[in-house]
Symmetry: none
Subunit: 221 residues, 4 copies
């Protein structure tokens, strides 16, 4: 995690650095992400980076933390306290929030995804933390739905949570270009993603909802 020195940096300088670091780690493996490239593009001295972070690993950890925090922001906007709200409405809102995170911060989201597939030297627990947390969140919702009789009792909450998060995770690469290459990330035009994303989102969610609901699924819509 970054030093005091890093936190005291002028906002602009710090932000520029973060942006460039995110760009590097979102387009490269942990191992092939290049500290040299980052400092070169950021226009700072190599030694400086090592005054902000203890090493490459530390920087990576920080970016993962950033990703987790950003994701949390999106989820925090959803109000789940209303006890009368239908469980599927909640699910929809949550999924929409997560999808928006992925669409609006694709590089950060990519860093998170890479961490799961990648070979970063981070302790597994940390890397899995975010993924597990999100699943736990959905699991809780599903269980609540089962208790309320809105979700069929035979549905396994763990599995349902897995399915939802898996679908969300894959949805962004699928929508963008079926492939998350550097160029794709760069050229992604958020604007025109909207409608496609919305359509696909509705379909995916509908299938999952119908698959879990206690009601005859195809009536709706």
């Amino acid at each position: 995690m970054p030093t005091e020195t890093f936190r005291n940096l002028p906002d602009e300088k710090r932000q520029k650095f973060i942006e460039i670091a995110i760009d590097e780690f979102s387009t490269h493996d942990y191992e092939s992400a290049s500290v040299s490239q980052i400092v070169a593009r950021a226009g700072i001295a190599k030694g400086s980076l090592y005054q902000y972070f203890t090493d490459k690993r530390d920087l990576h950890l920080y970016l993962l933390d950033l990703a987790a925090k950003k994701k949390a922001e999106y989820m925090a906007e959803i109000d789940l306290t209303n006890p009368d709200m239908n469980i599927f409405v909640m699910l929809r809102m949550l999924c929409r929030a997560l999808l928006q995170f992925q669409i609006q911060s694709p590089k950060l989201a990519m860093i998170g995804n890479r961490a799961i597939y990648g070979d970063s030297p981070l302790p597994s627990e940390i890397v899995n933390q975010a993924a597990i947390e999100t699943r736990q969140f959905f699991k809780g919702l599903v269980e609540k739905g089962k208790n309320r009789g809105e979700i069929h009792s035979k549905v396994d909450a763990d599995t349902a949570a897995f399915l939802i998060t898996a679908a969300l995770k894959e949805l962004t690469p699928y929508l963008t270009n079926q492939r998350q290459s550097e160029a794709d990330v760069k050229n992604r035009v958020n604007a025109d993603l909207g409608p496609r994303a919305a359509l696909a989102f509705e379909q995916v969610i509908s299938i999952i909802e119908n698959g879990m609901s206690t009601h005859s699924p195809q009536k709706k819509d």
Copy 2:
């Protein structure tokens, strides 16, 4: 693609090499996968590798091809010609085949997955080929199901196919350890995966099926 020299290698030597190469590329990005490591572990001279493959990229391509062929083997075992077979039975069989591929050849499957997320120097078309092909396959099935009236007409075949493949793709990392690190792959005990996988598989498939079926979903089971 490998040279004649490689194909003429003693079976044992060639297999050992392939195994080690698969291990390297399944635990590392294309960029960070190390040719030097491979030859060191395989106990062959560096120059020898370049008599088997033109370069690192060629080796990678070969492994991807291996993965595609292995996957095709699993799918080829499914007989889809029986016109009376219920569409969901077909889907189940296909999914089971793919999951078995992932569980029994997790490293090969991982290489394929990496190619999609990663920054391999392969032409996008080739990399996407496999992913798209599999999706097209499922899309065809879904459309057939719609024509037969077994799958609800409002279901978008593309999206359904995406959901199925996404779930399958993520299922293996989820079942193994939530994280596919080198150590994880090594310690994987196939035996105890069986029951867990079977259960999760049933659940996931059920949700998806119910989500798409024209019948009231929860009657079954």
Copy 3:
């Protein structure tokens, strides 16, 4: 061209490096000149060279530039502004200057010569620049001589310039050892070259002069 880092090097260290690099590129083709050899002999880390120059090509370019500058120094000493000076006196002075360059900086001169014969990755224009420039210079002189009536009107200025430069270029290898191998360059004893060079120089220049002059050639001397 070298970085600031290189220019800021302690004089002694930089000079030692330059000398060794010149030695390597004067005794080897661009392709077979070895960066590894240079850093080994210079006693610096391999990585350091790449903080001084972007790559091997850049180092080569720098050495060619050094050669050009050194050559220019020798030629700059010649004052050609005196309009009354006989054209052959001018030619003699120029040739003498160039020969001195080759004799006193044979390795640098060799690097230049290699660039013309060799397969350096430099753009042809750049490589030919120096050779052409020198010829143009002589061509101008010859034309002036023709206008003044000192050089026979039938002499082609281009060809005459070529002949002069060719003779000069070959004169050094001829004088040193008929062969410019590493050992030869090392063992070159400047002292005893002087008289031989002077004699050969006089003879060559005489023949060329007489061959071009409007006067009966053999009267002089």
Copy 4:
């Protein structure tokens, strides 16, 4: 020098090999000329080359020998036995023969030239042999000219011979492209060299002749 095995090779196979080897050594330094490239292009086994020649050095030596023999062929065509022939006519014929060698066998000529500048591991004596021999030949002619009173007595025969050979050696690169790169050699169109070469040749020879003659030089032509 090549083995019996090489000499017994089918003509076509041997000729193809020689051609390709000449091509490689004419476009590369001794060190960077690649045995691997030669065998690959010639379509023969690597081991075969080592049954024809003891090593790379031996192959190089053979090509140099070929060059020397080819050159000798051109010179052998000149009949210098006629005692009444003017010395300058002889010189012209010889020079023309050598120039033709360079123009018609530029790659072979290039190999010879490279040997002088290059760092081949050949004994200096051998490499210099050809150059010295040619010069000795011209030296003899010049001395005969002096004895006959056709060449001015003050002309040093060694130097004159050097000047002639230097001019000839440089003439080909000068005429072709001022630079003897691989592409240049390949694209060289012999046909259109003829007239240019003839003109330049005449001029160069004239200057040298006039420079050495006992007669007032500019009368002629």
